[in-house]
């Protein structure tokens, strides 16, 4: 599992490789908060290489979404596979996040 952040124009793109679960969620949270503190406002989290997400991982996404909004920023999600989409639908988090099918569409949506 790893998280990498790359700048694409003025958007911070975060790739989540592996699982986003209780054992590593703080690492993702801190990496994004560090960028937010540096003044970054636009964030895209790409799940194309993600296995599964647990409730702690979902909780971190909710928390980051709030913190980014409080700073006047925006968070988008992209590339949820069918299983991950089901998780978001079950928890109704698909109503809380802006989710794009592809990275390109997410980047265009800012």
């Amino acid at each position: 599992m790893s998280f990498s952040i790359k700048k694409q124009g003025e958007i911070c793109v975060v790739d989540v490789e592996g699982q986003l679960i209780v054992g590593n969620r703080q690492e993702l949270k801190q990496k994004v908060l560090d960028e937010l503190e540096k003044g970054e406002k636009k964030f895209l989290i790409d799940f194309s290489q993600t296995g599964y997400i647990d409730s702690s991982g979902l909780g971190v996404l909710v928390s980051l979404s709030k913190k980014i909004r409080e700073q006047g920023g925006e968070l988008r999600l992209a590339n949820l596979n069918d299983d991950l989409k089901t998780l978001f639908e079950l928890t109704k988090l698909d109503t809380l996040f802006q989710i794009a099918d592809t990275r390109e569409r997410a980047l265009e949506s800012f």
């Binding site: 209780v22 599964y52 647990d54 409730s55 979902l58 998780l87 928890t91």
Partner: protein
Amino acid sequence: MTPAADSGERKRGAHARVAFDRLIPSDVREIEPLVEQVTQECRDLALSARQCALNVPVALTEALSNAILRGNRGNRDKHVRVRAVVSDSALVLEVADEGAGFDLDACTIDPTSADNIEREDGRGLFLMRSLMDRVERYDDDARNVVRLTLNRS
């Protein structure tokens, strides 16, 4: 054996067998490799792709996380036991910790309600119950056991 456990044993039938039985220390870093081992067992048992990629890993991660962080309060001297019992009809996962137990219904909240949707916590038991066909909790010999049953589709 508790009545609930006895009932579970009967339902598993004569063909039930223990496919996995491990004791781990209370450390969240133990979760991912253990879940991968159990998920591999599920693939070997030809459970569906969705059950192997979503239902089992997420529900088991939630049960292990609760056992380690809430049941055993992260005390590495305390252990969590994980058993997987398979039969022709179902996969049964049992996660036992050394905690005092909890009321499953009272602790399950609806994270989809307007009041809760932006909460960071509170989705674990909901996900377990959404992704498994049955979730039970019982005390067994001073251990708190959560039993997850997934019917084989």
